[in-house]
């Protein structure tokens, strides 16, 4: 059945399809429609918390208790969740965290889109960790990749981040959710309550703290990194539209990639959907065939730095910041490169 859904509702509907049973969240523009949707559902646990710190910790608790859990927020709330994201990585708890990006820093431009949380989604918490991050670019993809975010989080036993933005959140599109193919990954461990396990944020072995054991830490973090990367490699989502007549490759994601979709007639376009761990091989391969690489993103070059790091060469940057993104402006900048 065809329906008209916006990005936020598509995320919420995807979560229900993924069998999400617990949602905790705190109101924030432009993410609130996700919680409004869940507030009306009878067969899930829905709770409006006192803040985003509570939301993510409650999500961690409910997930440990056996329920697939999610929270959704925007930049400021996402910042408050960062410590919790680190805890979920340390405890190895599946969880989906949605960040519908708006213009920051601070309250900034709350109703306008941005892609300013790219680095926050990767490096926002303290210490080393290796999050899986997806960023869809249509209502249909919001539905589909929410389901995949749940799957990747169950498989990796880590919180998976789904990025969106203020434009995508309200982009109404006709989709047929019944035609979207998916499979669901089951929970890989028993819910908290009937065993004798200790889940601790401290470095430990068999529940016993080993807080000065460098060797153990190195072993533990290497294993975690490998496990997450192994799972991530089963979710190599991207779109590559090669234009053989072009010497320029444009890399973009989310709403920015949507705005330039018509440029495929003139340029090659690469769109990572799994933006972290970065699709190094796929991006390198696409870049090899082009003289120039341009990263288009609604921030001051956060992902561009990542692309330069992996390609080891100078990369051009187009940065429509401040909430407005127009094809005309982007075209003019491209002509100047």
């Amino acid at each position: 059945m065809k329906e008209i859904l916006h990005g936020n509702e598509a995320i919420a509907r995807g979560a229900l399809k993924a069998n999400m049973k617990f949602f905790a969240g705190y109101p924030i523009t432009p993410a609130s429609e996700i919680m409004h949707f869940f507030a009306k559902q009878k067969d899930i646990q829905f709770i409006q918390t006192e803040d985003e710190i509570s939301a993510i910790n409650m999500g961690i608790g409910a997930s440990l208790g056996g329920m697939k859990s999610m929270t959704a927020t925007s930049g400021p709330g996402f910042s408050l969740m960062q410590e919790g994201l680190g805890l979920a990585h340390k405890l190895r708890v599946p969880l989906v965290v949605v960040d519908v990006q708006r213009v920051g820093p601070s309250t900034g431009m709350p109703t306008m889109p941005s892609q300013g949380d790219i680095m926050q989604s990767r490096y926002g918490s303290h210490g080393d960790y290796f999050p899986i991050v997806f960023y869809p670019n249509s209502a249909g993809e919001c539905f589909r990749y929410t389901i995949e975010a749940f799957n990747a989080s169950e498989e990796s036993r880590t919180p998976v981040i789904l990025l969106s933005d203020a434009l995508l959140s309200r982009l109404y599109e006709v989709i047929d959710t019944e035609k979207i193919q998916f499979r669901l990954k089951p929970r890989g461990f028993k819910p908290l309550g009937d065993n004798k396990r200790h889940f601790t944020g401290l470095l430990s072995e068999g529940g016993i703290p080993r807080t000065r054991d460098t060797k153990l830490y190195r072993k533990w973090i290497k294993e975690m990194k490998t496990e997450i990367e192994t799972v991530a490699n089963r979710y190599n989502f991207y779109e590559y539209l090669e234009n053989e007549g072009s010497d320029t490759l444009i890399i973009s994601f989310g709403i920015a990639s949507r705005v330039i979709s018509s440029l495929k007639e003139k340029y090659s376009l690469f769109r990572p959907i799994r933006i972290f761990p970065i699709l190094e091989n796929e991006i390198k391969k696409a870049a090899e065939k082009h003289d120039k690489v341009v990263v288009l993103e609604m921030n001051y070059g956060q992902y561009k730095n990542e692309i330069e790091r992996i390609l080891k060469k100078e990369v051009h940057s187009i940065n429509p910041v401040g909430g407005r993104i127009e094809l005309k402006e982007i075209r003019e900048e491209l002509n100047g490169i």
Binding site: A24, E50, S54, A55, N57, G61, G84
Partner: protein, 240 residues
């Protein structure tokens, strides 16, 4: 399980010899044994925050200040299980204060045991919200000029509440009120007053455990049927 089986034998507590936390840990396991329950135990960060890790049960040691919401999430997913938070005054009343306000307001069915030792013990002895006015700590070297908080009043801000205050040396009383808190359908808060021997205890001339326990005995009195407890009164106040 016998009461000793409720403890992980391979994980020895980090606490100082004579600390009130040993009495609390031992008595709580006896209560579980007597009630034949195996709750999920959760702790935040601090000396008391290590408690969860010593129970031979499914346990969680979460972030500083955030264990109440985490526990609420667990309870919402496992309504069939008893859920108990054991954490300190700094963890629950300072950094976690906002969550205490709201989880108690939502009246989620769990027991929060807040061990109030008047100070941040694990980090060396800084001022906590329960440090009494005039007390010297690392961060109030001239004596605290701030009045301490009364967690009872936080609970009483709710329409429905259960609050108990007790100490490890009033052992029978402590057992009784913890049992009552577990039986209470809704959010039950138990404040267990003790003193950190190495920091606040030392500053008050109560470094010896026997002296500290005598001080608790001399200063705190059990009362019954009161609507509100005075500062040095032990008992239960509740409203259904």
């Amino acid at each position: 399980m016998a009461s000793k089986d409720y403890l992980r034998r391979d994980n020895k507590p980090i606490w100082c010899v004579g600390c009130g936390l040993y009495i609390i840990l031992a008595q709580v396991t006896k209560i579980f044994d007597e009630l034949k329950i195996e709750p999920i135990i959760l702790s935040g960060i601090g000396c008391t925050g290590r408690s969860a890790g010593y129970f031979n049960l499914d346990t969680v040691h979460g972030l500083h200040g955030r264990i109440i919401p985490l526990a609420e999430g667990v309870k919402r997913a496992r309504k069939d299980k008893e859920v108990m938070v054991i954490s300190g005054d700094g963890d629950i009343l300072a950094i976690g204060g906002n969550h205490l306000l709201h989880s108690s307001r939502r009246d989620i069915d769990m027991t929060v045991v807040c061990v109030n030792n008047s100070v941040y013990g694990l980090t060396g002895g800084q001022l906590s919200p329960t440090t009494k006015k005039g007390m010297k700590t690392l961060t109030s070297p001239f004596g605290s000029d701030i009045h301490s908080i009364d967690s009872q009043k936080i609970m009483m801000a709710n329409k429905r509440y259960f609050f108990a205050r007790t100490t490890p040396v009033h052992t029978e009383h402590m057992i009784k009120v913890i049992k009552e808190a577990i039986a209470w359908k809704g959010f039950a808060f138990v404040e267990i007053v003790t003193l950190c021997l190495e920091t606040i205890g030392k500053n008050m001339g109560l470094r010896e455990p026997a002296n500290m326990y005598q001080w608790l005995k001399d200063n705190y009195k059990i009362v019954e049927d009161k609507d509100e407890l005075d500062e040095f009164e032990l008992g239960v106040v509740k409203h259904d």
